[in-house]
Every structure is written in structure tokens, then in C-alpha cells.
Symmetry: C2
Subunit: 468 residues, 2 copies
């Protein structure tokens, strides 16, 4: 017999928006991270009113609700770990209303982030956050996870561009936070509390985004180094020179090799480390900054420098950078992708520690990422069918987290805590810090139905990558 | 007989740090806003450990604790409205540690904000938030109130530059939030929840601030207009031209007159409205942007344009802008200073509504403020001994709040809710929105001892400016 809550949902939303077929449920059982959890139903919503009705039914029947955009999350946010329903916002019609005079846009949660980029550029404006998944991920997911991306260095992350939200609370109230002004200190900052809360505090049903004038010109630079160490010095010398690049990406030797094997892209194959930078601003200024950077790179014994002269040539370099993730995924069946982040000055030390971890656990560990803001992506390439290897990977991941924390960094720069990192939160922020977060969760969601199993560890929970 | 909690504080902190003399208590009974509340004791602290001990004693004896920096607050944050103790952080030794490589600084709460500006500039860096009170207010107060300032337009506000905090919770736990990296998504964003929480969620004992490279050049421009309307169009034409000034300040005719009477400063006395702008960036770029702005101003029939050629001449203009607040304070005994904020495009409409409110209630209402981000400062000049006038002022203030909300704006852009605006919060964010905030407060501070009487209205509370 059908569960009462499913019947209630069907009569409220209409039968076809409540999917319970095995094939549908399995389609919503995974994301871009690790693990599979099959929900009891998939519920498709397209308005705040509908979300409110769903939350009220869920509360009445005490059924877990796990919101989901396009499921590209790398930390388990959309995984229905306690069953119940996945709340699918991917069918919510895209909507982008630009208010150019006010330098803002109102967007619906199901809108692809790249569509926002395109739309606001037509007004000479820019929405800076640029997660690598922008062309396939929804803004709703970006908001829930506070997505980052290469431009974080100069422009910050998703949260820095959200000034207002419409949110449905865990108990089904539709509420507005913040507003349409850059300055707003009316009450506690619920907007920034909800952005990045990974779906445990409510469902975002609309967002007001802050925009900036689009820079008039951009210039890409690619530089190769014969050692990690010189690349590390190039990063810190550039960043203390007074120049703030809009992007500063790092790719190690193994990632370069993987990209060139996967799809030859013209990356310097003999380099131990490659930096790809982008400057943006006025044309006159860019040329001056470019010359300064070339001087720095020469002093630091870069082995090769490429300054693409056309937009197409620059786009090829950035495409090669985007290839890293899919390319390394072909090396072995399983990819464990981390985003431990350290203060910029600690990048060379973190690189050294990552090298030691690779040796110690005999794992295939490659590194790329957003060097300019210390947000590295160590990726471990492994095979989840190999129990012994996965045990070593678990230990390596723990060591990576601890290394980042020891260097004054964080467990997660942009992917989120989700299911896998929750056992480590106390190491970084202490018992009292986690307790403050739990009190908020408890006070807003007393029945614990809003994305349960995320960010807070169960007693005794630990990282498990092997299938025991 | 001395209250037990005072005895406990004296034995913990030392007698001289717990002040109970009438003169001391009266010195801490007011701030830059309205009203006087005499605390039972003033407690001077200089470490997180001491704050923790104070909070534990306060919890044990259920005594209100009101944190205070230099008391320049314009919304009542440091007023001990329910008595108890004022927690004075102004004697906390200033401390600014700059980590130039990481583009961050660690500061103690008692540090003057202008000292931070100076210190980081020595490293070629900038801490952008610049409340007009920076030379007399502490960073602790700025953090509690999420202070803004002229640079909000381009650079955002205090919150945008805080990436980590040390906080003592209402129950006396010392905890760390955020960290030293720009990207950090480990758990809920407690950092940005506490910044701007007006002392109701905890006591900030240390902060990690994000810095940026200091712009290489700045250029000031002062423009006079024969009408509000043309000034309004100049603001929006400039902001949609692709140029983002670092400051864009507005002064109305009455404010100009007041400044020139108070201290002749060379402001254009016949102007109906004056805009003072600052561009920053590279020298080459500034010149180009300056020419574009001059063209816009000519098209919009500016009656006078001044482009100061020396840093001293520019400083004189900005000093005149800073004179507005003290100058208008001399017009009548009482100054009611508001900070209602609207989306930029609504500035001309808001100016019109303010004119109507001035007529309707026959009040002396002048306007200046941060036009670029819609953050106006309507100031009502009155005499608090005149009961009839104050009744009209109360109604005018209510109308100002409602006008801002009706135009898609907010009650408060940068001063905070404090004591006076709490009755209006529900108008802006609804009952459900206020309820979410109250739940957080209740879950963190079950005994309600942390700055009670702030931001949340008592049942039936309304704005009272007259002394009944």
C-alpha cells in the first residue's frame, strides 16, 4: 500500500509530479560525490507555494526532504541518506529578471548558472561566481553549497553576491530575507546563514543577486615551471605585487599529462607545474600588469610563458583547465575529489605535505585548483572495488584534512561538508562551534526532516569509502 | 549591600575593572542615538578569557550584559536598557597583526578602525570599510553593527571583509568561527551571522579581516546641480555607464548651508544638490573615467564641476562631507538620524517622498548620504523638549521607514535596528522572518542576558521619541 504521505503529495501536487517508479528513484539516488541512497519518492516542484505544501506534509508525516538541483554536488548534499523524498527543483522554469539600474537580478532556483552569466552580460554586467560546473549546475544548488570557482580570488564566492532570498522554512513558511539593496542591516543576516547551509535550514525558492559592471578587457597568461617550489613562489610574488588577477589556477604534472592523453590541448607537457592566470580590467591597465607579471615570471625562472593574443586562443587554454577533472577521472574507476583550503602563503607547504601523503599511503594523488585563494583540489584516483586501496585512501583523506587544518586552513573551501566531512568538523571548529550550528538547526527544524544526515555527524560516525 | 554578581566580578577581574561609581555608570548610559539608561556596573575587559568569565557569572546570576566599544552607535546597540552591566571593550589594547602574504589582518576588538586603515596601508594594502566614525569607533563596534560607509558602493561593508572571528557565546564558551582562508564552507556561516548581530548573539574578541591591494590612484570630483532631479539622473547615468566609483556622496542644499555656516569649506552654496565622487584604480584608467564622467555631468546640466588637482584639495572636499553631521547638529538641539535605504533606481522617488514628509509634518528634514548605494541619511532636526514637535517627528520617522520599504528598500542600511527600529522589523521581513531570528537568539541565549531589549520588539512596543 502507498504511504500516506505519498498519497497526500499526489493529491496536492498532481500525480505526475510525485514519482515513485524504481527507475525514477534510482535516477535520484546519487550525486557527484560518493555513495547511493534510493529515495522513496521524487517530488517535482516549480513554485514556493508548492514547496510550502510539500514541507507541511513532510512535517505532518515526519518524512525526510532532500532538495536537489542538477545533482552535480561533490559532497553529498542531494543524497537522500535517510530515504523519504528528493525535492527536485530541476524542472522549475528558469527565470532571470535583470534590473540593470539597481545592478541586481532576480532568479529562480532551477536556472542554470551559465544562463545567468550569459543573460547579465547582455546588459554589460557580470555575475562573478563561476563554479566549473556552471554550464550544468543550477543556481539553487550553487546557493545551497555556496559554490566558488576560479574567480574567487578577486571576486569572492556565491555568498558575496546574494543580497536577498525567498526561502521556505522546514515548517513550510514562505519567508523573505534581505532585500534589493547592497546595504541592509535589518535584523540577523539570515540570507548569508542560508547560503551554504547545504539544504539543512530550508529550501531556496528565489534569489536576488548582486551584479557588477563587466570588466572591459581580459588577458590570459599561461606559465610553466620546472618545480612546485618555483610555482609556489610565483603565486605569492604575484599576489604581493599589488596585482590581483581575476583567476590564478594551478595544474600539476600528472594533471597536465592526463589532459594531454584525454584530449591534446597544448599544455606544456614537460612542466612540473603550470599556472594559468587571467587579468581583467581596463585595456591600458592590463597591458601594464601583464608586463609586470612577465617580469616576475622571468625572475622566477619560468620555463615557458604563453600570452594568447586572441579570445579563441585564451578560450582553448581555459578549456584545457576545465578538462582536468574529466581527464583524471579516466585514469582509474574512482575519483575522490577534495577541496581542502589553506591560507595562500601556506600553498608550498601544503603541496609538500600532499607529496608526503602520496608516498606514505602509496596512492595516486594529483593536484590542481584555485591557487590564488589557497583552494587546492587534491584528487585521489583509485578503484572502489579494491578494499585494501580504499582503506589507504580513507586514511590519506583524513591526513589531508588534518594537514589543511594544521596550516590554518579548512576542510572545505567550496564543495561543502555533506555526508563525508561531517566527522571532521569538530577538529576544525571545536565542540562549542558545532554546538552553535546544531542549536540553529534544531530551533528551525525540530522534527529534523530538512536534509537529515548532512553536515552533522552521528555519534561515532567516521569516514567510510570502502564498501564493507 | 553590593549585589552578589558584582562581588563575583570583582573577585574574578580585580576590583578596579568593575566600576560602580555613579559618575562611571552615567558615562556609559548613552550612545550616539536616543535615550539614557544607567547600568548597575561597568566592567572593563581585555581578553577572551575575561569575557568568558564575565558571561559565566552573568548567566549564573541572570544579569544583562551589554557590550560597548566607543559608544558612537547611532541605533542604541550599547545602551543597557535593562540595566545590569556594560561590558566595556574600549580599554582592550589595540592589536593589528598584518599577514601581507595572505592578504589578511588579525585585530583586537578595542582597535580603532582608522588605526587599521593606517597600519595596512603601510603594506600597500587596504581595509575598505570606512564608516564616517572610523577615527573614533572601534572595530569591535563596527563588527557588531556591520558598519558601512561611503565605499560600500564599490567595496561592500564590514561583513564583506570578515572571514573569521573569535567569539564568546552568551553562555561563556570561547569559540572560533570561519578561519584565515577566503573560501571556507565548513558548516553554517556563523561568522556572518554574528557580524551585524548588534551584540545579541555573543561578544567578539578577535577578528580576521580580509584585505585588498590598495588602489594606486584616486580622483575626487565634486558636482553641483540646480535640482534634485538632475542630481538623481546623474547618479543613475553614472552607475549604468560601466564606471563604478569608489564613493558617490550626496548632500542637499540645507546640509551645504549648514556646513558653510559651521565651518566655511568651499561647498557650492547656491546648489540644490551636490555630488562628491571618488574614482580609484590605475592612473591611466582614472583619467579616462574622469573624462567620461565630466561628459555625463555636462549633458545633465551640472551647474559647477570641481576636479581637485592635489591630494590636499581633495582632502578638503572630503572633510567638508564629514562636517555635515556635526554641522547640522548645531541647527537645533536634537538630531534624529536615519539610514533608510532604497534600491539605487528609487533614489529620486525616495527624495520626493522625503520632501512630502517634510511638508506634511512641518519638520526640519535634511538629507545627505551614500547616494551610490541608495543609503540616504534623512536627518530630522528638532528639540526634544518640544513634545508636540517630537510627536510629529515620531510620525515622520514611521513614514520614512514605510516609504523605504514600499520602494523595495530597508529600514536600516548601516546603523542597525537597536532599540528604535525594532517595532518596524515585521513590516519589512514579516512575522515568520522575525520568528527565525528569535529562534536563533533563544537557542543560543536561553536566559536572554546578551544585550536584551535590542532588535526584537516587546509586545506592543512602538517608537517613542517624546519624553512622556
Amino acid at each position: 500500500m502507498e504511504a500516506k504521505w505519498i498519497t497526500a503529495l499526489k493529491s496536492t501536487l498532481g500525480e505526475k509530479y510525485v514519482r515513485t517508479a524504481v527507475v525514477d528513484r534510482h535516477s535520484y539516488s546519487y550525486d557527484g560525490s560518493f555513495g547511493e541512497y534510493v529515495p522513496e519518492a521524487v517530488v517535482q516542484v516549480a513554485s514556493a507555494r508548492q514547496v510550502s505544501e510539500v514541507m507541511k506534509i513532510a512535517n505532518h508525516y515526519r518524512v525526510p526532504v532532500t532538495p536537489r538541483g542538477q545533482g552535480t554536488c561533490l559532497s553529498g548534499g542531494p543524497l537522500p541518506v535517510y530515504g523519504g523524498m528528493v525535492l527536485d527543483t530541476s524542472q522549475w522554469p528558469a527565470s532571470i529578471e535583470v534590473y540593470a539600474d539597481d545592478l541586481i537580478a532576480e532568479v529562480s532556483p532551477g536556472t542554470l548558472t551559465s544562463a545567468i552569466h550569459q543573460e547579465v552580460e547582455a546588459y554589460g554586467l557580470m555575475y562573478p561566481p563561476d563554479p566549473s560546473s556552471a554550464h550544468v549546475s543550477t543556481i539553487g544548488g550553487n546557493l545551497a553549497e555556496n559554490s566558488g570557482g576560479p574567480r574567487g580570488l578577486k571576486y569572492g564566492v556565491t555568498k558575496d553576491y546574494v543580497i536577498g532570498l525567498e526561502v521556505v522554512t522546514p515548517e513550510g513558511e514562505i519567508t523573505r530575507t534581505g532585500g534589493r539593496t547592497i546595504k541592509n542591516v535589518t535584523g540577523l543576516d539570515i540570507t548569508k546563514l542560508i547560503v551554504g547551509s547545504e539544504g539543512v535550514l530550508g529550501v531556496i525558492t528565489s534569489a536576488t543577486l548582486k551584479l557588477i559592471p563587466k570588466p572591459k578587457a581580459v588577458q590570459t597568461i599561461m606559465v610553466a615551471f620546472a618545480s612546485m617550489e618555483t610555482a609556489g613562489r610565483a603565486i605569492s610574488t604575484t599576489l604581493t605585487s599589488g596585482i590581483l588577477p581575476s583567476k590564478m589556477e594551478f595544474i600539476d604534472h600528472a594533471c597536465v599529462q592526463a589532459v594531454e592523453a584525454y584530449e591534446p590541448s597544448g599544455l606544456p607537457q614537460d612542466a612540473e607545474a603550470v599556472l594559468i592566470m587571467e587579468l581583467d580590467g581596463h585595456e591600458e591597465t592590463l597591458d601594464k600588469e601583464l608586463q609586470e607579471i612577465l617580469t616576475i615570471m622571468k625572475q622566477l625562472e619560468a620555463t615557458a610563458v604563453q600570452v594568447p593574443e586572441t579570445a579563441e586562443a585564451a578560450a582553448r587554454i581555459w578549456k584545457a583547465r576545465k578538462m582536468v577533472s574529466p581527464a583524471i577521472a579516466t585514469i582509474k574507476p574512482t575519483k575522490v575529489s577534495e577541496d581542502a583550503t589553506v591560507p595562500r602563503s601556506q600553498i608550498p607547504l601544503m603541496m609538500k605535505k600532499l607529496g608526503e601523503i602520496r608516498e606514505k599511503y602509496e596512492i595516486n594523488l594529483v593536484v590542481f585548483g584555485h591557487a590564488g585563494d589557497g583552494n587546492l583540489h587534491p584528487n585521489i584516483l583509485c578503484d572502489e572495488r579494491d578494499q585494501a586501496e580504499m582503506k589507504r585512501v580513507e586514511k590519506a583523506v583524513e591526513d589531508i584534512f588534518q594537514a589543511a587544518i594544521d596550516l590554518g586552513g579548512t576542510l572545505s573551501g567550496e564543495h561543502g561538508i555533506g555526508t563525508m566531512k561531517s566527522p571532521f568538523m569538530e577538529n576544525e571548529i571545536g565542540i562549542a562551534g558545532v554546538d552553535l550550528m546544531k542549536r540553529i538547526k534544531q530551533s528551525w527544524d525540530p522534527n529534523n526532516i530538512m536534509n537529515p544526515g548532512k553536515i552533522f555527524a552521528e555519534p561515532g560516525q567516521r569516514l567510510v569509502l570502502s564498501r564493507e
